[in-house]
């Protein structure tokens, strides 16, 4: 049984059809890349899965539950997490507090008011920061980080709640080559406990990190399969050649 199954997803904005019966299936501990030309509907599909948009038609199942009508909060509590395309770390808070904010999301109100999970979560905060190579800047404001570091911080925040599925919308956007390489390294270890859906323009990055790919074109699924299968696919080569 797949972890995530989205079927027949359509999204219509007025006259514009962004998605037209798209589908996405992701298994346990699978890194799944979502690729396609600009305007093919990758981000929209991601948003429909994450709950940032409600699909016009279609059904999203997660861990055998129909979550199509779930709010983002309910999806998060079911084990899904999202890193936005635009970095949305909280700039005035310290890195430490950004992570703590993500970690304490499931604490009860009573615990929050009395700060009862503060000590218990401390080690987890530092572990996350260390894992994402940000520990030495724990007490700086997030606004002081470079763009690439902010992206890492945000991935760390998205992972803090130990999700079973992480949705990453353009994690390497605006990064240098070196930062992209490090991002790939940082993502590898999470495979043991988490599946990943990545929307990304950098095809080399996608090829290095992903197990399976889904290719979208004009709101429809053009092809879906292993990286090798997709690379050998004529249609896929064509749309990328057409663009080039």
């Amino acid at each position: 049984m797949p972890l995530l199954e989205a079927q027949g997803i359509s999204k219509v904005y007025g006259k514009l059809t962004a998605l037209d019966g798209a589908a996405l299936t992701v298994g346990e501990n699978e890194f799944h890349g979502l690729i396609g030309p600009n305007g093919s509907g990758k981000s929209t599909l991601m948003k429909c899965v994450a709950g940032a948009e409600v699909p016009t038609t279609g059904k999203v199942s997660f861990v055998n539950t129909d979550i199509t009508a779930f709010t983002p909060t309910e999806r998060a509590r079911a084990g899904m997490s999202l890193k936005f395309q635009i970095t949305s770390v909280l700039p005035t808070l310290t890195l430490y507090d950004n992570i703590l904010l993500a970690l304490q999301a499931h604490s009860s109100l009573f615990d929050l008011v009395l700060s009862r999970t503060r000590n218990r979560l401390h080690d987890q905060v530092m572990t996350m920061l260390t894992q994402f190579r940000l520990a030495d800047r724990a007490y700086d404001a997030a606004a002081a980080l470079s763009h690439g570091q902010q992206q890492w911080l945000e991935i760390a925040m998205a992972l803090a709640g130990k999700p079973r599925l992480l949705l990453l919308d353009e994690p390497t956007g605006g990064m240098s080559l070196e930062e992209r390489r490090v991002t790939g390294e940082l993502l590898q270890p999470i495979k043991q406990h988490c599946s990943l859906v990545i929307v990304e323009h950098d095809l080399d990055f996608i090829r290095d990190i992903c197990d399976r790919l889904t290719v979208l074109d004009q709101g429809k699924v053009l092809a879906s399969g292993t990286v090798a299968e997709i690379q050998a696919n004529r249609n896929v080569q064509e749309i990328y050649l057409r663009r080039a």
């Binding site: 983002p72 999806r75 005035t92 808070l93 904010l101 999301a105 615990d111 929050l112 401390h122």
Partner: protein
């Protein structure tokens, strides 16, 4: 039209926009603060010190005025929690203040209840109930309500209550409810003057400390997330609407406490206490002093009320204009309020992690190591 929409959008973003503009200006003191000593406790201590000696240096009629200011500062705290900390546009905070004022005035008039032990809890309960009802309607829902909905809803609530009170004979109509008897404790009567002053100052200090505890707790961190990026924290799994309704109710409770103290201090209640006049006044207090800092709300109230008092005495005809210009200047050039002259951004926002580690992660483990080595 476009301009108006933009303005509304800017208001909607509230603290975010304000922070963005203020950040560069505020960064200098931030460096100073992080270098070792903290400014905030010094400011708080100074304000408390001044407040404590005030009745000794002021004439009696000024002590009465100062008492009114302390009660209004309590009211300002309630609004600051809701708006400055949680980012909820409550333009009808006077509804809770006034509803409690009217409620306790009726208790005194019709039921002869004047005991402080009944009046203050009743005022808080009225504020809490009103805030739960209005907040439940405006804030709770499956999806977050829009900023416009909340700001217009609170404003309308306050305006409607004002109109209702004006037209309702039982509540005294335009004149309100006059000659409320003094607040009592056993056979003792709280008259205007130093005793009433110290009583409300004591309450202000207690409420201030409770608020301070709350905004620095992990709940305070959740509030910071709420005001900076509500959508983001919903994706972490926070029930953002619940958080909002809770802080709105806390704000309503404090406003109710302030309203009941105000009613008994002034000796009468009138429809303005419920309406737009008081609702906007409290916005100005907090904006002027510095939203998102508790001490800013207090300082803003003291300065606006103090300056108004002095100007209305000495420049009777032009004082509203002078006051308006002063407010505009602060809002344009010091969007973070007067406290931002001394308070850096780091200290204003605060940090919520483990206490001892704030000065550097290396310091905490060291004592532990020596502790382990000793036995």
């Amino acid at each position: 039209m476009g301009g108006a929409e933009q303005a509304v959008a800017r208001i909607g973003e509230g603290p975010d926009v304000v922070m963005g503009e203020g950040a560069p200006a505020a960064s200098a003191p931030a460096g100073r603060a992080s270098a070792g000593w903290k400014v905030l406790p010094i400011v708080e201590g100074l304000v408390l010190l001044i407040a404590l000696v005030l009745p000794w240096v002021l004439q009696d009629y000024l002590t009465v005025f100062a008492t009114r200011v302390v009660i209004l500062a309590l009211f300002a705290l309630s609004f600051d929690l809701v708006w400055g900390y949680a980012g909820i546009m409550s333009f009808g905070q006077a509804l809770f203040f006034g509803a409690a004022g009217y409620g306790v005035a009726l208790m005194a008039r019709d039921l002869n209840v004047t005991s402080i032990l009944l009046i203050l809890p009743a005022g808080m309960l009225i504020g809490l109930t009103a805030a739960l009802l209005l907040g439940g309607f405006l804030l709770l829902g499956r999806y977050p309500s829009s900023v416009i909905f909340v700001s217009l809803g609170t404003l309308t609530g306050s305006y409607a209550a004002d109109r209702l009170a004006r037209g309702w004979y039982y509540l005294g109509g335009q004149n309100g409810i006059p000659s409320i008897p003094p607040l009592t404790l056993g056979s003792y009567e709280f008259e205007e003057g130093p005793v009433y002053y110290y009583m409300v100052l004591g309450i202000l200090v207690v409420v201030y400390l409770l608020c301070r505890f709350l905004v620095r707790s992990q709940f305070g961190l959740a509030l910071a997330g709420l005001r900076e990026n509500e959508q983001r924290i919903a994706f972490f799994g926070y029930k953002a609407q619940h958080l909002k309704a809770i802080i709105f109710a806390v704000g309503g409770t404090i406003a109710g406490l302030a309203g009941s103290l105000y009613a008994f201090h002034e000796g009468f209640v009138w429809p303005n206490m419920l309406g737009v006049v008081f609702s906007t006044q409290v916005v100005l207090y907090v904006l002027f002093g510095g939203s998102g800092t508790l001490i800013g709300a207090v300082i803003g109230t003291v300065i606006i009320e103090g300056v108004s008092f002095w100007l209305s005495d000495n420049y009777r005809d032009v004082w509203p204009i002078i006051l308006g210009v002063l407010l505009l200047l602060v809002i344009m050039f010091r969007p973070l309020g007067l406290v931002s002259f001394v308070l850096g951004e780091r200290e204003r926002v605060g940090s919520f992690g483990k206490g001892p580690n704030k000065k550097g992660p290396n310091k905490a483990p060291k004592p532990k190591e020596t502790g382990n080595a000793a036995p």
